[in-house]
């Protein structure tokens, strides 16, 4: 490419309908008006849900007191809110956001809402390696997240390699992904029979995706990892647009589509695996959040910020329900998200139009 004598001049983009130009100093970027409104609305909803999350539980806490704790002021409810509910909520927020973005990225590249990390085996790869390590006595959260990420990437790579045949056909990709998901789940179950009863129970709960007993020990490394990945997400939000182009146009514009796609998928897999390591494979969040967000914003692309907010909202609300529904017993949050997500997936299948690609849009 560099040997081309005169590089094509940068084409000044025409402002599309529905966008506003926002200037910050010398930088200018396009803002989708409706998406911005939706993000704002979701943000408000999320804040309200978080407050409810902190207040509702075994004992009810006044919203004012809960806010005091969050702001670091002395309060009588320090223990319940600050020690028990707040860190768990933070884990839920981060996990939900990470799954939302991960799902959005992978769905964008696959151009198929069904190619979410929990359906094509990525979460199962992360689970298999993590549960394996747990049964062999590794319980340190300094190690487990890395194993999750390795497991997730390995599973994704396997599915990709085996589904590749002169191209990546969506149906083939999904079918092979489902196959690997089943096999990896059986490997996970195998590990569970090896450990003793307590480890098995811990693993069983972890595997469904649970925030039970999660605290700052998980929240801190998770927040740090996501902070490090944030620039990549900004890059992804821009790069996403070029992926939507067809191959010829992209090549003509000088976009290296292959690399961009690989980068997006890799980022998606890493995000999904990191989230899985913190809370287990919380089913369907990665499938649901981007799709709902896209329908709300009515954009052609999956809006990543709204996906993140939507994911966080789903997880926080689902965990609130999971804690209270059968109290005093707490359900794993994954049970709730699956109970919502599975019917949605069924609905997607039933009303799918382009059956040939196994896709819906």
């Amino acid at each position: 490419m560099s040997s081309v004598p005169c590089a094509p001049r940068r084409i000044r983009p025409i402002r599309p309908v529905g966008y506003a130009v926002v200037r910050v100093g010398r930088a200018a970027f396009l803002l989708h008006r409706r998406a911005a409104l939706v993000a704002l609305g979701l943000g408000v909803l999320l804040a309200a849900s978080c407050l409810a999350y902190l207040c509702v539980g075994e004992s009810y806490v006044q919203p004012v007191e809960a806010l005091k704790v969050v702001l670091g002021q002395p309060s009588a409810d320090e223990l319940v809110v600050g020690t028990l509910r707040e860190p768990r909520m933070v884990v839920g927020l981060l996990v939900g956001a990470a799954f939302g973005v991960a799902g959005g990225l992978i769905q964008t590249v696959a151009r198929n809402p069904l190619a979410s990390p929990d359906i094509i085996g990525i979460s199962h790869g992360a689970s298999a390696l993590t549960v394996g390590a747990m049964t062999f006595g590794v319980t340190s959260y300094a190690v487990l997240p890395y194993l999750s990420v390795i497991g997730g990437i390995a599973a994704a790579a396997l599915v990709y390699v085996f589904a590749w045949r002169g191209g990546l056909h969506a149906a083939r990709f999904v079918l092979i992904g489902i196959g690997f998901a089943i096999a990896l789940r059986s490997v996970t179950t195998l590990f569970m029979t090896k450990g003793d009863y307590l480890v098995a129970q811990q693993a069983q709960i972890w595997m469904t995706g649970s925030l039970n007993g999660r605290g700052w020990a998980e929240a801190d490394p998770l927040a740090l990892t996501l902070l490090v990945l944030l620039p990549c997400v900004f890059w992804a939000a821009r790069a996403q647009r070029s992926v939507a182009l067809d191959d010829d146009t992209a090549t003509a514009l000088g976009v290296r589509l292959g690399r961009v796609r690989l980068g997006l998928v890799l980022l998606g897999v890493v995000l999904a695996s990191v989230a899985t390591s913190a809370a287990g494979p919380v089913d369907f969040v990665a499938l649901l959040a981007p799709q709902i967000a896209r329908r709300m914003t009515r954009t052609a692309q999956i809006p990543l910020l709204c996906s993140a907010l939507m994911g966080a909202l789903i997880v926080v609300l689902a965990d609130l329900l999971a804690r209270r529904l059968f109290s005093p017993t707490e359900l794993p949050v994954g049970v709730l998200t699956a109970a919502v997500g599975a019917p949605y997936l069924i609905w997607l299948i039933v009303r799918s139009r382009s059956v040939r690609n196994g896709g819906t849009s």
Binding site: L114, D118, I119, F162, A163, R165, H169, A171, R172, V174, L175, I176, I178, G179, F180, A181, I182, A183, S186, V187, T189, L190, M192, T193, K194, Y197, A200, Q201, Q204, I205, M207, T208, D283, F284, F326, T329, E330, L331, P332, G334, V335, A338, A339, G341, A342, P343, L345, I346, I349, V350, R351, S352, R353, V355, R356, N357, G358
Partner: protein, 332 residues
Amino acid sequence: MRVPVRRAAVMMAAVVALLLAVLLSLAVGARAIAPTTVLDALLHGGHSDSAEVVREMRVPRTAIGLMVGAALALAGTVLQGIARNPIADPGILGISQGASVGVVTAIAFAGVHTLTGYVWYAFVGAGLASVAVYAIAASGRGGASAVKLALGGAAINALLVSVTTAILTTKASALDEFRFWQVGSLSGRDSEIVGQIWPFLLVGLVLVLAVARGLDALALGEDVAKGLGQNVATVRIVGGLGATVLTGVGVAAAGPIAFIGLAVPHIARAVVGSDHRWVLPMAAVLGPVMLLASDVVGRVVFPPSEVPAGVMTALIGVPFLVALVRRKAVAA
């Protein structure tokens, strides 16, 4: 009469393979026992340690493997026939998971801990799951395509797994019994199971064989089948009932064992053609061969511990599924 002779010869070869698998299953394990000793123990009794191991542990285990392997392979064959879909399999379609939910319900709520008790729960679970998945896949445009079936199965699987987890989380006492059952294994199953499952197996077998002709007609397309005078709805209902009974009893006896129902019918069709009156018996012979072989391999790969047969079949099944999906565009 040339074709039947060839088919009969292939069938003989399959039966020989089955005998070999049975012999291996009886001879190989933590204690390797010479085939002659195995035969001796079976035919002449005797009270040596080896003879006791063969009779008390390996014979029931092998018998369960025979029955479950045949049941799952037949169920897969019929499902592929009535759905006219090459990737139909009780595991992929969530039918096994339905049976699992039935069993965990029986253990946790009904206080049922015997196979004859919870096999009924397994039937109900398997039946509901199969109806649900087929309804999902068949609705909407395009009918029950491979991808829609697989996805419907994945959705139902996820839903049922979450139900199972919800039960196991709230009823911790059930987990310890369930986790060993869930993995899908032939070891540690009660020897009485053999005596308990054969009536169900027989019922399933009769139902399945009854629709063999109907499945052949259905393979030509729904309209042609109707034109040939087949009652398509009856074939689907009876076949589906047979597959449900077979899956339910297989899962209740050995836990969810994946991929036997997927792989075996394809192998059977490859060797005897598409006539279901040959494919079904062939699948019934090859299913146990695959399951017993997986079980034997699982016993020797990581001594002294065993890899359960369900895990081995999944590991063997994945390359198979990959090959199947890659070979030709599975009508998506």
